[in-house]
């Protein structure tokens, strides 16, 4: 199991906090709806979107089924290009490798572009604690960094913030008068980052994809900060999960075609960076050293399970978050994981332990919007149910709960029991209902229902009874 240093948080309390925050709900809903509409518009433009999804799913699945082969191919290619490859089994190892590279190359000033893998291993705070000057250069991540916050969305880390809260953070951080005009805020960050870029010694990126054939990393972005990170500093480190591989450049083309469309509703991002070697003879820019750190951190364990393997197809586009009514209702922080939303409800328990994330697979209505949106066709609802099954089989669910469901199932096995229990239940519900047939309060076991909404009384007679009148 991958290591994780996030504090244990009560999911229900965190979800309630999110749901009670009207400003948060509105910000998240508006932002996700905009992204959903963008995605749908871009998908409709494609001549055969479903076939493209199918192809993308097959490319990723094929790569995962043959990951050992493609990893070897990738490593050989990176080395051939003059890069250094490191393997990190877990977060601790990965952080250590980065620190060692910084020490050996004498780098103290680090610029970092947005990456979920580095978020996952909490790289920035660790490097800061080691006395290094690290700056997140993606605007959203920069805001997260200076406000000591956590990202709440895979693609839009500050989806939970509005410009006023950002203005307050900037005013304090830059010792400047409060100004919540977005261009002014951006300008403040630009001026600050410009100097950081210029003086940087090491750049750290993640990777959206790795191309096995050519040994290259692909990073897509809209702000140009990642391009700064991989051209300006003398040392470049890319830290990428092992599941990010695709075999060839032509496969990368398929994935790039999907990613921005699914994610931000763009046809392509503003920058598509493909890189993977130190500066070659005659080149005028680029790093003197290139290091690729391949991160496992729980991934090979998922890879080893044929049922859950497809989860590793995920390209972190965030489409499932954007369509998820649960995510819209509670925001990303409630998931207490770097991976929130529907895909997070799979990834977090699978990577960091089902015991730790028991609520996530359960806290979903299984509406299926996520599975429908996923560009690589991960069957998220089905796998969430599989995790619920694992909970039952591993006795992670409560004793009372197990008893109730088993009794329920037993009652449904017999037509006689079903009718008797049904009749009793209808009688009980009608007894509790008012004259109009509505129940405002149910006893403890079902109190959750009436905490939020009324309950209709059951019918006086079941359809089974009514049908009998016919004959």
């Amino acid at each position: 199991m991958a290591s994780l240093s996030l504090p244990q948080v009560d999911f229900r309390a965190a979800a309630a906090e999110g749901a009670a925050d009207a400003r948060l709900r509105e910000a998240v809903r508006n932002n996700t709806l905009r992204k959903q509409e963008g995605r749908e518009a871009r998908w409709t433009e494609l001549p055969d979107a479903q076939a493209l999804r199918e192809l993308a799913a097959r490319i990723k699945q094929h790569t995962l089924e043959n990951l050992d082969y493609y990893l070897r191919q990738l490593v050989d290619a990176v080395r051939r290009n003059g890069g250094v490859v490191h393997f990190a089994a877990d977060a601790e190892q990965a952080r250590q490798i980065v620190l060692e590279i910084a020490q050996q190359t004498g780098c103290r000033r680090i610029i970092k572009s947005k990456s979920m893998a580095t978020e996952e291993i909490e790289l920035t705070p660790h490097l800061e604690r080691a006395g290094l000057d690290v700056v997140e250069t993606d605007l959203g991540e920069f805001i997260i960094q200076v406000s000591h916050d956590r990202p709440s969305h895979l693609v839009a880390p500050i989806i939970h913030k509005d410009r006023r809260s950002i203005a307050r953070v900037f005013s304090e951080y830059f010792h400047a008068p409060y100004n919540d005009d977005p261009p002014a805020l951006t300008q403040q960050a630009r001026l600050f980052l410009r100097d950081k870029f210029r003086r940087s010694e090491m750049g750290i990126t993640g990777g959206n994809f790795l191309v096995a054939q050519t040994g290259q990393v692909c990073v897509v972005e809209n702000e140009g900060n990642a391009r700064q990170s991989l051209t300006t500093p003398r040392v470049l480190v890319s830290l990428v999960g092992i599941e990010k591989l695709v075999p060839r450049m032509s496969d990368l083309a398929v994935m790039v075609k999907l990613l921005a469309r699914s994610s931000t509703g763009q046809i392509m991002t503003v920058y598509t960076n493909i890189f993977g070697s130190p500066r070659q003879n005659g080149e005028r820019d680029g790093p003197q050293e290139f290091h690729l750190i391949l991160l496992d951190n729980g991934r090979s364990q998922i890879l080893g399970d044929p049922e859950y393997r497809e989860v590793l197809r995920c390209i972190r586009c965030g489409a499932c978050l954007n369509v998820c009514p649960v995510f819209r209702s509670i925001g990303g922080h409630a998931y207490n994981s770097v991976y929130p939303g529907p895909i997070g409800a799979l990834l977090s328990p699978l990577m960091f332990g089902l015991e730790r994330y028991k609520d996530l697979p359960q806290a979903t209505s299984l509406c299926g919007a996520c599975g429908e949106a996923c560009p690589v066709k991960i069957d998220i609802p089905r796998l969430l149910i599989s995790l619920r099954r694992d909970m039952v089989n591993r006795r992670l669910s409560g004793k009372l709960e197990r008893l109730i469901y088993r009794l329920w199932a037993w009652g449904l096995q017999s037509r006689f029991l079903y009718r008797v229990i049904g009749a009793l239940q209808r009688w009980d519900l009608r007894r509790r209902a008012d004259a109009d047939g509505w129940i405002a309060r149910l006893p403890k076991l079902a109190a959750g229902w009436t905490a939020q909404r009324d309950m209709p009384a059951a019918a006086r007679r079941s359809f089974h009874n009514i049908w009998k009148d016919r004959h």
């Binding site: 709806l33 076991l445 939020q452």
Partner: protein, 258 residues
């Protein structure tokens, strides 16, 4: 899922009422029966039926759900068509019975037959009966909006129900914002995570209120209980009906007696 079977002379339909409709909305069963008979079907009601096992399956009790699936297959296998007024139970059978019973030699063939023959009510009207409702009209003009229940996704349905509604005279259809966003029912989810479920149904009823429609059509008993319960809690006057009830009204069908 392809439902390849073509209707015979007089389609023989087994009604799968589902446990929630049986206990809470039996009138929907009466409506479905009488409508299908009007369209020339023979309707039977296998009396041994209970529940498809969805709540048991969704909560992770797969061994128990497998037993219920077998029971369901045994009961419904003899029929030419199986029609249910609930999309969610229909999706349970077609999407998850293969996972439960696939590879069990004694059950696989029967399960596949049941999957192929099981239709959600609107889907059956649309795909098999090719029903046209333009001959019918409601007695009075009614503004109607429609909630896209989630399991339409699994069944590959889109706006079939809306098209049917629009054929009925005196139906004034009003589109709803975020019509396909889940209402927050999710079975036991509504009881286990009331705060999240409550926020979802709050948003759903906000969208419904915006339409100012008199009637909300919702073709799933669970969503109907959830949305109806929230509308009542908020003191909103809208009525929630199954499409079969609206159709019955337009077709002059009496739901209080056979």
């Amino acid at each position: 899922m392809t439902n390849a079977t073509q209707p015979s002379h007089k389609p023989q339909v087994a009604l799968f009422i589902t446990c929630l409709s049986d206990q809470f909305f039996p009138r929907v069963g009466v409506a479905v029966t009488k409508i299908l008979e009007r369209f020339g079907c023979t309707v039977e009601f296998p009396a041994a039926q209970t529940c498809c096992g969805q709540p048991i399956f969704n909560n992770g009790f797969h061994a128990e759900a497998r037993q219920l699936a077998k029971r369901h297959v045994e009961i419904f296998e003899p029929y030419e068509f199986i029609v249910t007024p609930s999309g969610s139970c229909c999706a349970m059978i077609r999407e998850y019975y293969p996972q439960l019973l696939g590879g069990e030699a004694a059950w696989e063939a029967g399960m596949r037959r049941v999957c192929q023959r099981t239709y959600e009510f609107v889907e059956f009207l649309h795909k098999v009966l090719k029903a046209d409702l333009s001959a019918f009209a409601l007695p009075q003009r009614q503004t109607v909006t429609y909630h896209y229940t989630c399991h339409q996704r699994g069944l590959g349905l889109s706006d079939e129900a809306v098209r049917l509604l629009n054929q009925i005279g005196n139906v004034q259809f009003v589109a709803m914002e975020r019509a396909d966003q889940c209402c927050g029912f999710g079975g036991t989810f509504a009881v286990k995570y009331p705060v999240i479920s409550g926020a979802m149904v709050q948003d759903k009823t906000d969208c419904i209120a915006k339409t100012a429609a008199q009637t909300l059509v919702c073709n799933d008993a669970g969503c109907t209980m959830n949305i109806g319960g929230m509308l009542h809690r908020r003191g909103m006057p809208m009525r929630v009906k199954h499409i079969a009830e609206v159709m019955a009204e337009a077709m002059g069908i009496d739901l209080d007696a056979w």
